[in-house]
């Protein structure tokens, strides 16, 4: 089965500026893929090439095995897109906006599904009748999410989907993603700076920096491979380190050790058996820590 999204040596120059350089990534059908990178890394350019809004200088992008350039219209039939900056016809009402965008779809609108989304995102009939330029940023964002979802696309491309949403609506969005994931018919390509959200929602992440993919991995692998910080406390002066833990020590002395442990934690705990451990603090896995290292270039590129 073809990947839902695939790029092959995708390169894009804007004049002398290199936006993307030989980008190769793949997203399996039904997967929720987090596309991460610092500002200006090339995320939006990649997304806009997938939608044929921007043309690649070289290489190609494929959706469901179809070339994004050659089969542009067919591909856009399958895609729901939420841009990072929500463009609006200011003078339109919310309902007019959704009706207009539905009229541009090749399939007839599923009004009951749209109604369900409006309810889930707490958009009232009054909000629907108000002009878009009189709505709050969060409410505009809700309309953005709804317009992307309402056509029941097989591929959702979401650029900063929860920016400006309140916690309740972020929860509603997460619920929607989980639902789509469990149905298994929708692939989600999600770009976000909210790393806790990515960690929670995505199966895999691709991290891009200066137009190049520096890491593509599953969240599960990252959890497994990323060193965890452990602080081991003793009631008396810390004993000598067991050999199994010696390579992991960052600091030892006084009444505690500070360890950076890669791999399953069970073996670290096994090595402490028999020691008079008073307490252990284990920092939870945070995608943020890892991604920040990648952004700043201190973590090595793998995979």
């Amino acid at each position: 089965m073809a990947d839902a999204v695939r790029t092959e040596s995708l390169t894009k120059y804007f004049g002398a500026v290199v936006a993307l350089e030989s980008l190769n990534l793949s997203v399996a059908a039904g997967e929720v893929y987090g596309f991460l990178g610092p500002n200006g890394a090339g995320k939006t350019t990649t997304i806009r090439i997938l939608l044929d809004l921007v043309r690649a200088t070289s290489g190609r992008a494929l959706i469901d095995g179809l070339d994004c350039r050659a089969a542009s219209v067919e591909i856009r039939r399958r895609v729901g897109y939420l841009p990072a900056e929500m463009p609006l016809y200011r003078e339109m009402t919310g309902v007019g906006y959704l009706d207009f965008l539905a009229a541009l779809e090749s399939r007839p609108a599923d009004l009951s599904f749209r109604r369900k989304l409006l309810t889930r995102f707490d958009v009232s009939d009054i909000d629907l009748r108000r002009r878009l330029d009189r709505l709050s940023h969060g409410m505009k964002r809700k309309f953005g999410i709804i317009q992307a979802l309402m056509g029941r696309p097989s591929l959702l491309i979401l650029d900063e989907p929860t920016s400006g949403l309140d916690p309740l609506m972020i929860e509603a969005f997460a619920e929607t993603v989980h639902e789509l994931k469990s149905e298994g018919r929708t692939t989600i390509f999600l770009s976000s700076h909210v790393l806790s959200e990515v960690e929670r929602l995505c199966d895999r992440v691709g991290i891009i920096r200066r137009g190049q993919l520096v890491r593509e991995t599953s969240i599960a692998d990252l959890r497994r491979d990323t060193p965890r910080r452990l602080r081991v406390f003793f009631d008396r002066p810390a004993p000598p380190l067991p050999a199994a833990l010696a390579g992991a020590v960052r600091r030892s002395g006084g009444r505690h050790w500070e360890l950076e442990w890669s791999g399953p934690l069970g073996s670290a705990l096994d090595a402490m058996q028999g020691l008079a451990v008073a307490d252990i603090e284990i920092e939870p896995f945070k995608l943020e820590d890892y991604v920040l290292q990648i952004y700043s270039g201190t973590a090595g590129a793998r995979d």
């Binding site: 044929d52 809004l53 856009r76 463009p87 965008l101 779809e105």
Partner: protein, 266 residues
């Protein structure tokens, strides 16, 4: 799909179209009322001696100092021609505006072939400017019918329709040029402003050519060169060839717009 795009764009520009149609229709009424008073006071008789010959020539010659001439002036006044051209230019520059404010991301991310965006803007500027000219035409006919001096032979509606069609063909030409420009650039004001300035320059070029012979060959590039409202009203020339030529130029520019828009980054 095209209808939805067309309706949306027309709704966005409705106020502009209605306002310009109202203003230029009011201009027709004012023009004809003034002409009526001049006729009633016998001013036209003195006109030939008051207005320099080259200006009369620039304005179309023999008819200028007459009641029918005043009707033609409603369709040939520089303010009218340039206002109409500006409307068409602004309407046609929408594709650049959509790129500028990001709306293109919303529309073209859906299964909308790119040529439909150009087709939509073509339809909007054609229909928008035609609506304004139609309003001017109807207002002019009604006012003439109400005020036309009894002694004057009725001006055939067909001739006035030809004048209107010729004016519309010029306006469409500028609209097509703006469309081609908007298909290439990212800012609406850059597309509309550039073509608007070119329109003013080409008007001045044609005006200058009527008074200064050396300019005449170069004035052929100006669409205004192919517009003789006074002579058309008089029935001494048929503008059919000019209209066809201007329409052909517009068609070529629209094709160019399609090609440019198809190739560009949005």
């Amino acid at each position: 799909m095209l209808f939805a795009l067309f309706r949306r764009s027309l709704a966005r520009h409705r106020a502009l179209i209605v306002a310009v149609a109202a203003l230029l229709s009011a201009f027709q009424i004012l023009d004809i009322v003034v002409a009526y008073n001049l006729q009633a006071n016998g001013i036209y008789a003195q006109f030939a001696t008051l207005v320099p010959a080259f200006i009369q020539e620039a304005m179309g010659g023999v008819l200028v100092g007459s009641f029918p001439g005043a009707i033609a002036l409603g369709f040939a006044h520089p303010l009218v021609m340039l206002s109409l051209s500006c409307v068409a230019i602004y309407l046609a520059s929408e594709p650049a505006g959509e790129v500028e404010d990001g709306l293109v991301d919303l529309v073209v991310a859906r299964p909308v072939p790119r040529f439909l965006i150009v087709a939509r803007s073509t339809l909007v500027y054609l229909v928008g400017s035609a609506a304004v000219v139609a309003a001017m035409f109807v207002t002019s006919r009604i006012t003439v019918r109400a005020l036309s001096p009894a002694t004057l032979t009725a001006l055939p509606a067909v001739r006035l329709a030809w004048v209107a069609a010729n004016l519309l063909a010029i306006v469409w030409c500028f609209g097509a040029a703006a469309l081609a420009m908007a298909a290439h650039v990212r800012e609406r004001m850059r597309a509309a402003g550039t073509v608007g300035l070119v329109a003013i320059f080409l008007y001045l070029l044609q005006f200058g050519a009527t008074a200064w012979n050396p300019l005449r060959p170069s004035a052929r590039v100006s669409p205004f060169h192919y517009y003789e409202p006074m002579r058309t009203l008089l029935g001494t020339v048929s503008p059919a060839k000019d209209v066809v030529g201007l329409l052909a130029a517009s068609a070529a520019l629209i094709v160019l717009a399609c090609v440019l828009y198809e190739k560009r980054d949005l």
